[in-house]
């Protein structure tokens, strides 16, 4: 029996491939293999002999099977190793190209400020870009002869001959949405109105179309001090700074009274803007308490309701926050610019996760 063991273990060790191994298996432990034949001889043995030979044969069978399995695994490993040795890739090659999309900074900034004002209970209102001169001017306390009208560089729509209505305008500000919202929703009211506006002006810092967000809050006891707080909170949140100093400067807008222009404390260092520190002041918005005539134009009783309004340039906010130098480039659709200043699809600004990365 030891001979058998030595013979087959030797053959298994020497087997070159799986076929040879199978031949050995059949010869050794197959149904008609040598070990099986020996098993048959057990029946002819005495019980005493059988008690010795039986377990020994079983052990031999197990040992050969294990050796076969081990050799088989060893051969498979060797074959795999051989295959893997030939499977080499230059992994520095580039991947299949995939396009990287982006969002425009105006969209991003608009979502950011929507998130902030939503927290303060302001909803988002919209209005038409082409509007009547009543909504754009008269309702906002800017009568026809008012110098502010001439200063606004208004775009007018063509009037067909025989149509004697005053020409419609491309809205020069988002303020007409104030009136439309008051008419529609009444008071108390808290809205922001983001959107495109138009002025006939084109130079380094002006484009004939740009974007504004209008804010309006009407209630029975809203004061200019509330306005200042709202703007302070907004600026801190938008620019993601802990503290910021705003300066209210008396100014004049026909639709607010008192009116204030608002400056923000900042510093310019090597062309980099820092909000909230330094000795410079930068004008960022116009605001004031809504003029009683404007409230009345919106169909609300100015003896009962009062409130504030403000207007901020969205493009300008984006320029300041993200260090974008030239307003004109916003509307050039230059792929290099879109990729550089754009935002990824999953950069969704939230107050809990942070507005920017």
């Amino acid at each position: 029996m030891d001979d058998l063991k030595a013979k087959y273990l030797g053959q298994i060790a020497d087997a070159a491939d799986e076929n040879a191994l199978e031949t050995i298996r059949v010869a050794a432990v197959g149904k008609k293999g040598e070990v099986a034949l020996k098993m048959r001889e057990l029946g002819k043995m005495t019980p005493e002999e059988r008690q010795v030979a039986g377990p020994a044969l079983n052990a031999l069978k197990d040992e050969i099977n294990s050796a076969l399995a081990a050799k088989k695994a060893g051969l498979a490993d060797a074959a795999l190793d051989e295959r893997l040795r030939t499977e080499w890739l230059d992994v520095t090659l580039p991947t299949r190209p995939s396009r990287q999309g982006s969002l425009h900074p105006i969209s991003q900034a608009q979502e950011e400020l929507t998130a902030i004002f939503a927290e303060l209970g302001f909803s988002v209102a919209e209005g038409p870009r082409i509007d009547t001169d009543w909504y754009n001017f008269d309702a906002l306390n800017i009568p026809g002869h008012h110098p502010a009208r001439a200063e606004m560089d208004t775009f007018y729509m063509h009037r067909a001959e025989g149509d004697d209505r005053p020409p419609h305008v491309l809205r020069t500000h988002t303020s007409p949405v104030q009136i439309r919202s008051m008419e529609k929703m009444g008071a108390p009211l808290r809205i922001i109105c983001p959107g495109g506006v138009y002025r006939a002006d084109y130079d380094q810092t002006h484009t004939p179309m740009f974007h504004q967000v209008e804010g309006l809050a009407l209630d029975k006891n809203i004061s200019m001090a509330n306005l200042k707080w709202v703007l302070e909170e907004f600026v801190k949140s938008f620019f993601e700074v802990d503290d910021v100093e705003l300066r209210f400067r008396a100014s004049h807008f026909p639709f607010t009274e008192p009116s204030a222009e608002v400056d923000i404390r900042c510093s310019w260092d090597n062309g980099q803007l820092k909000i909230g520190e330094g000795d410079d002041w930068m004008e960022i918005l116009g605001s004031g308490m809504v003029h009683p005539k404007v409230i009345a134009a919106g169909g609300i009783d100015p003896d009962i309701y009062q409130g504030f309004a403000f207007g901020i340039g969205i493009d300008r906010l984006a320029m300041l926050k993200y260090g974008i130098p030239d307003l004109r480039a916003f509307f050039d659709s230059d792929l290099r610019w879109l990729r550089h200043y754009g935002f990824q699809c999953l950069d969704v600004p939230t107050l809990h996760g942070g507005l920017s990365r």
């Binding site: 969002l103 775009f155 659709s333």
Partner: protein
């Protein structure tokens, strides 16, 4: 509006510094735009004394001077002809910046001799153009600051100039007196109001004045007088200095005097050369067509109704806007007629706009000057003319009267506090208004004549607030409108636009924002460009029409990027397009374009030209993201800027178009100047129905543990038969059992013959109650084959 510090001090008794004044003005609402303070750039220069001067050993024209300075004796080489012993000079020491040369002077060697700094000429210090020699001072001690010497001896040269922006509501601040009043109201000094003494006339005025009855509403008051025997010519230096300092060109004494009062008191005046006036002056309305050459040497034609001042010869002056050249004063003028009138601001604004004249007079009258000051201004100017030009004044002639401007509003001290949110005691509020010239009777505030802008109680609030200083305003939290967590604020449509943007960006598109006005030709290619959407005053012909679609702007952007070498593009825009010129005739669109290849050449060979199915995949993804139903129709027959055979309209019924995708018409691509294939999609997000259900609950998930079965079928159909027809027919065979039908192969022509194609589809069957047996599957298969062959006229491919 520009003025100098010394001019301001004519009206304001104050010790405040320039910086203090500037800060206060800005805070008051008179925003300082520029301060030009010569003292700032001269502050380091001190006086020196030339103790000894001798010829340079190596240069005939140079002198070696020993100069005593506050830092000891210095050797300075100087080439000025007047550099000599015994004169007091302005020393520029090494390391100092010389503004007129724009250099920082150092220690140098001039022809072998050391020189420590320089002695300055007026030009080198930007005091004048004088450069014939160095500054020689008749007084002053070594070490004195030069600016102090100038302030004492030539104050005009160090007079700081301040420029402020004037908002339309503050005509009173267009006079320096008005600016001083604001500062005094804030407590920055005391307003000087000199005694007014009218100048009596010595003889009757030979020129009479009248206002036509139909013109009195535009010119309530017109006054004037003759001053005879004047000597015109250059005005005195002080007056020239003042005008020059605020950017005006001195012309002659008479003109300079009118300009002086324009700025000093916001009182525009006009001087006629009386010798050139024929007969009397009459203020009236133009009949239309009259032509006048004005002082700016341009000819203007009046429209009917515009106000004009005429003499016997006809129109001589554009009332309240600009005088005529024919009656203008010259250096030879001997007799002058001085005019001071009050004009209605609306009529001046309209006439000025119509005639396109921007003059100081128009600017002021259209904002509103002080009607009460009309006659006083006439007397003050008379006095100055008599002082500077001599002559003899006539009696004053007056037509009309000061219009009634009296009005009063209630000062509600509590309302002021409630609106502003600042604790301003009533006594302070009253004091502010009084200092600004309001007259308080009880709590009624009578508005001063120089404040036409004050038209209601709200204006009183503004006055009190700005004088109290909004800078001091402390923010107060705005209470929430409702307690608890704020609700969502965006409308479904706003959410859709946001989702569409972010989905498009995730699909690799770059968002653009383009001008909503484009050129007429591009607009016309996409169904626009008509008169209704045309601008009356476009900024250029490239921006003349409101866009009818987003496609033209995107295609223009693509062409620009291709010109920069970017040939493969994926761009999208979300925004309004315009189908008319009335408010509301706009609709939101979501449009994307794919141009060129899907990507650059690559080792994997993955790049290929973009095709209709790229656009279809993306429009389907975005429609799904904004909540469009999955089951839609795809129809043809979109507008002619799409490729006629390679586009589809995604519809809910023939009239409800949610979007269009496909190739653009080759002619359009060509016209827009783009290379390579262009596919595009457009979505009308507002057409996508809002979900009917409310709440966030999903339908229960019907999962079956039973084995699903897939079976493949191939049908031979006519080439024009659409795959969706097969899919719909197959799906309809057993709606309960069939969960998915998918086309997986298309084969056209070949052995099938001309005009035929084979479409292969996989049908997935999902039983829900019992496992499918072969005969069940057979039964469904037969139904599928029957339905499809009926719907398409095709046959099962054997």
């Amino acid at each position: 509006m520009k003025f100098t510090l010394s001019w301001l001090k004519d009206h304001l008794d104050t010790d405040a510094s320039v910086d203090e004044i500037a800060e206060t003005l800005t805070d008051l609402g008179l925003e300082v735009e520029e301060i030009s303070n010569p003292a700032d750039r001269l502050k380091d220069f001190t006086l020196g004394y030339v103790k000894h001067a001798e010829k340079h050993p190596d240069a005939d024209k140079l002198r070696v001077c020993q100069v005593v300075t506050d830092e000891g004796e210095m050797q300075i080489i100087c080439g000025a002809p007047n550099a000599r012993e015994g004169i007091t000079v302005v020393v520029c020491k090494p390391g100092m910046y010389i503004p007129g040369l724009d250099i920082t002077i150092g220690v140098g060697k001039i022809r072998g001799v050391e020189s420590f700094g320089m002695m300055a000429s007026e030009r080198e210090l930007e005091l004048s153009d004088e450069h014939d020699g160095i500054i020689e001072l008749a007084s002053g001690e070594v070490g004195d600051r030069f600016v102090d010497w100038l302030a004492a001896n030539q104050p005009a040269k160090v007079d700081p100039m301040i420029e402020i922006a004037i908002t339309p509501n503050r005509p009173d601040a267009l006079g320096i007196h008005g600016i001083a009043r604001d500062l005094a109201a804030r407590g920055l000094g005391t307003l000087k109001t000199p005694e007014f003494a009218p100048i009596a006339g010595d003889f009757p005025c030979p020129i009479k004045v009248t206002i036509d009855e139909d013109t009195v509403d535009g010119c309530p008051l017109f006054s004037g007088r003759l001053i005879k025997g004047v000597k015109n010519g250059p005005s005195p230096q002080w007056l020239q200095d003042r005008l020059t300092a605020i950017g005006l060109r001195p012309i002659s004494a008479l003109v300079d005097i009118t300009n002086f009062f324009t700025y000093d008191q916001n009182r525009p005046l006009h001087v006629f050369d009386a010798a050139k006036v024929s007969g009397d002056l009459r203020v009236h309305r133009a009949a239309g067509g009259e032509v006048l050459k004005a002082l700016d040497e341009k000819e203007y034609t009046f429209s009917a109704g515009q106000m004009v001042i005429s003499d016997d010869n006809g129109a001589e002056s554009i009332a309240g806007i600009m005088g005529g050249e024919g009656t203008g004063c010259t250096d030879e003028t001997v007799d002058v007629f001085l005019e001071s009138a009050f004009w209605d601001h609306v009529q001046i604004a309209l006439a000025g706009r119509a005639l396109k004249i921007n003059s100081d007079a128009r600017y002021r009258f259209e904002r509103g000057v002080d009607p009460e000051f009309t006659i006083q201004g006439l007397h003050l100017a008379t006095q100055m003319i008599l002082e500077l030009c001599g002559g003899e004044a006539s009696e004053v002639v007056i037509a009309g009267d000061v219009p009634d401007h009296s009005r009063a509003y209630k000062l509600d001290a509590e309302r002021v506090q409630s609106l502003v949110g600042m604790d301003i005691p009533e006594s302070d509020q009253r004091q502010t208004l009084t200092r600004l010239g309001f007259r308080l009777e009880g709590n009624m505030a009578h508005v001063p004549s120089w404040r036409p802008d004050v038209q209601g109680e709200a204006d009183l609030v503004e006055e009190v607030a700005r004088i109290a200083s909004l800078t001091k305003l402390q923010g107060k939290p705005l209470p929430r409108m409702t307690d608890g967590i704020p609700k969502a604020v965006m409308t479904p449509q706003q959410r859709r636009q946001q989702m569409a943007r972010r989905t498009a960006a995730s699909l690799g598109y770059n968002e653009v924002v383009s001008y909503t006005f484009i050129d007429q030709a591009s607009a016309a290619l996409f169904g626009g460009g008509d008169d209704a959407t045309m601008l009356a005053n476009p900024i250029s012909s490239e921006m003349s029409h409101m866009r009818p679609a987003l496609l033209p702007g995107l295609l223009q952007a693509a062409a620009r990027n291709q010109a920069r070498g970017f040939m493969d593009l994926a761009l999208f825009e979300v925004g309004p397009a315009f189908h008319g010129g009335e408010p509301g005739e706009q609709h939101n669109l979501i449009t994307g374009i794919l141009v060129g290849n899907t990507g650059p050449k690559d080792v994997h060979g993955a790049a290929r030209g973009v095709d209709t199915f790229d656009a279809k995949a993306d429009i389907e993804a975005i429609l799904a993201a904004i909540g469009a139903p999955a089951k839609v129709q795809i129809l043809r027959g979109a507008q002619d800027w799409w490729h006629p055979g390679r586009h589809g309209k995604i519809c809910l019924g023939p009239k409800k178009v949610l979007g269009i995708f496909g190739e653009l018409h080759p002619k359009v691509i060509n016209a827009m100047g783009i290379k390579g294939p262009v596919v595009a999609f457009t979505i009308w997000p507002d057409e996508v129905p809002l979900p009917r259900k409310s709440g966030a609950t999903r339908a229960a998930l019907g999962q079956s543990d039973l084995q699903a079965v897939e079976r493949d079928f191939a049908f031979v159909v006519d080439a024009e038969v659409e795959a969706l027809t097969l899919v719909n027919a197959a799906s309809g065979a057993d709606k309960a059992l069939i969960t998915d039908v998918r086309i997986f192969d298309e084969f056209i022509g070949g052995s099938l013959g001309e005009g035929k194609k084979s479409l292969a589809l996989t049908v997935r069957l999902q039983p829900s109650d019992k496992t499918l047996k072969e005969k069940d599957i057979e039964a469904v298969s037969e139904k599928i084959i029957a339905k499809v062959t009926k719907a398409t006229g095709g046959t099962l491919r054997g």
